[in-house]
């Protein structure tokens, strides 16, 4: 009971901070919004990489796909997409409020659905590949998506697309997208929290521990892989749609498919926080994002080197992540009972755990 009330207090505190942030520091709204996107990145990556042991280097592809679907929907509702991109930003369309928000809502929904469908197709094609081949294959998907988008003039090619201008007062734009990103991250957290409470978590953990045995026990491993990847893609698509509008400019290599920045950030954040846990990615995202903002500010020019070094150090020397480290130090905080060595019970065999009813 005590743990539950503590968790509720923690949730409430985070929500209050999240809601108050743009009013307390209005100048940094965009940075805070990107922070929530980072949390979403880490949570979605962990669903595959941490819980299921399928390390994808190319999840960023869904982010980019979502961004482009949303951009094309928003523009396509009021103008010819080909003409708009061919004009290279010279055409300025005036969006009415209804057009803008209607387009944004429809675009975000389509982005989520499109990314989900893409993930389902990809998992049908790729998810039979295991281990490092899966990582390399997904990296290939992300690079190919970027290259193909850059070579497709209808969606702006390498030139990119200028996004519609936000109607309304100057300060409102940042605030609006901040709350949109916050809502997306919270929805993502609640969804995965619910999902990890179901049988799903046991199944994907079984796949991580031994896929062949899981399959032999009758788990439809491909179906689980498809569901895990699609739900990650669903939220990544939403994040892409919001991020594209927040930046105001969509371009394949740096904004939509940044394999070397966001694509690798999501992995670094999850590993830093502790993969395979619900809170690990969130803690990792927080620590990583603060560090990133500091290095970006004070180590200009060196920031990517610092990032690479951070990845190497995390991976090579700090495998278990922050949460894993705390867990090994203070297991009682996580409700794990540690038997004292040499206690009265130490000689007796442990009572067998009650058999769990698992429906097949």
């Amino acid at each position: 009971m005590k743990l539950a009330s503590r968790t509720a207090a923690l949730h409430a505190a985070i929500l209050v901070v999240g809601l108050a942030a743009p009013f307390v520091f209005p100048a940094h709204s965009v940075q805070f919004a990107v922070f929530w996107i980072m949390v979403l990145f880490a949570l979605t990556w962990d669903a595959m990489g941490g819980q299921m042991g399928y390390n994808s280097l190319g999840n960023i592809a869904f982010f980019g796909i979502g961004m482009y679907i949303c951009a094309i929907t928003q523009i396509g509702l009021v103008y010819d997409v080909g003409e708009y991109t061919a004009a290279n930003g010279a055409v300025a369309i005036h969006f009415t409020d209804a057009q803008y928000f209607g387009g944004l809502a429809l675009g975000t929904a389509l982005a989520a659905v499109g990314a989900t469908i893409m993930a389902a197709i990809l998992s049908w094609v790729l998810a039979g590949i295991r281990g490092p081949y899966f990582a390399i294959g997904t990296l290939g998907v992300a690079i190919a998506a970027a290259e193909l988008t850059a070579a497709w003039p209808w969606v702006g090619g390498g030139q990119g697309i200028s996004m519609p201008v936000f109607p309304g007062a100057p300060g409102m734009r940042e605030r609006f997208f901040y709350f949109a990103c916050l809502a997306a991250a919270v929805a993502c957290y609640l969804f995965f929290r619910w999902l990890y409470g179901t049988r799903f978590k046991l199944a994907v953990n079984a796949i991580r521990d031994d896929e062949d045995k899981a399959e032999a026990l009758g788990l439809h491993t491909r179906r689980y892989k498809a569901v895990a990847w699609s739900s990650a893609a669903f939220f990544l698509g939403i994040a892409g749609a919001l991020f594209g509008n927040m930046t105001g400019f969509v371009e394949p290599l740096e904004t939509a498919y940044p394999t070397l920045t966001f694509g690798i950030f999501m992995i670094a954040m999850t590993l830093l926080g502790g993969k395979g846990t619900l809170w690990g990615p969130i803690i990792g995202a927080t620590v990583f994002y603060v560090m990133r903002e500091l290095t970006w500010t004070y180590l200009l020019g060196w920031q990517y080197i610092a990032l690479g070094v951070l990845i190497i150090v995390t991976v090579v020397y700090f495998q278990q992540g922050i949460l894993g480290w705390v867990k090994s130090r203070r297991p009682e905080w996580f409700g794990v009972k540690v038997e004292e060595r040499g206690g009265p019970d130490s000689g007796k065999p442990r009572p067998a755990p009650a058999p769990k009813a698992v429906s097949a």
């Binding site: 390390n55 590949i129 294959g137 290939g140 690079i143 070579a151 690798i264 991976v315 090579v316």
Partner: protein
């Protein structure tokens, strides 16, 4: 696209041009992929910073060339420097990831790739460079096909290096130790082979090979700090398609990839060249998965 195909069928000489270009870059790919396969086979580390090591070699030669060293002569000192660098990287990073799971090594070398490419960017700037080797261009078929002599020299050097490596692995005592470790590291350790030194030497040799390949890339083609990842992906395509420890397969695949890339660049347009390589990677992985699925069905 259709016009380009018509050019190829209408003027067969163009095919010769594309083939020659493809084979000359393919020979360099073979060298890079061979190094990747060597490290992969012996240490089971998949080096994603392979292409960035190639670029490092190219930039070292570029710097030496500014001080009057001919690039072909520069291959030797560049390989030596890269060997030392490889040893250092092994001591700091690779040594600790060999025992861990495979994704760890992949991610650690990906981090290395970022560090190397950004360092090159900081030191040499983001521009695309090339080294003038000062050789003539040969005109074949009455001037319709041009090939620079340096390309032919590069092909020859690639094969010379490959032969030297194979001879080293087959006949020297250390080479035998490397092959023994690749087969079974535990048994090798039991028999008194210092596997740590073997791993270090393998990784350093790979770095030296990459350095030499980088000098050739700088002479035949261009180098830039961010072009490394393309070479890493190509090396992965080649090794994955050919299979580990299959040297003839690596050579054939590398030459084929070089030619395929030239053709797709010509027919579809230069912007699709990179996409072709990556699509090929995905295709090969899917194909491997299908053959694996078949064998699993057969087991049932």
């Amino acid at each position: 696209m259709v016009e380009n195909l018509q050019i190829l069928t209408g003027a067969p000489v163009f095919n010769v041009q594309l083939l020659l270009n493809g084979l000359s870059v393919g020979a360099i790919f073979a060298l890079i992929a061979y190094g990747l396969g060597l490290v992969w086979g012996v240490t089971s580390v998949k080096n994603l910073s392979q292409g960035d090591m190639v670029m490092t070699g190219g930039f070292l030669a570029y710097e030496m060339n500014k001080h009057g060293v001919h690039p072909i002569v520069a291959i030797i000192p560049v390989a030596a420097i890269m060997f030392a660098l490889g040893w250092l990287i092994y001591r700091i990073i690779i040594r600790r990831v060999i025992e861990l799971d495979l994704f760890t090594s992949l991610l650690a070398t990906f981090g290395m790739a970022i560090v190397i490419q950004q360092s090159l960017n900081l030191i040499f700037g983001p521009d695309v460079r090339t080294i003038k080797s000062g050789f003539d261009t040969l005109h074949l078929f009455g001037g319709q096909v041009d090939i620079t002599q340096i390309r032919l020299i590069a092909i020859a050097l690639c094969f010379l290096l490959a032969i030297a490596m194979v001879a080293f692995l087959r006949y020297s005592r250390m080479g035998q130790a490397i092959r023994a470790t690749a087969q079974d590291p535990r048994a090798a350790r039991v028999l008194g082979i210092d596997t740590d030194t073997v791993y270090a030497l393998t990784f350093s040799l790979n770095a030296a090979i990459c350095g030499a390949a980088g000098v050739l890339v700088a002479m035949v083609w261009v180098i830039a700090p961010f072009y490394g990842i393309g070479y890493s992906v190509r090396a992965f395509v080649i090794v994955t398609a050919a299979g580990l420890g299959n040297l003839p397969g690596v050579i054939v695949m590398a030459l084929a990839l070089g030619v395929i890339e030239q053709y797709s660049g010509f027919v579809l347009g230069a912007q699709f060249q990179q996409a072709t390589v990556v699509s090929l990677l995905i295709l090969i992985l899917v194909f491997r998965q299908l053959s694996l699925l078949r064998s699993r069905r057969a087991l049932q």
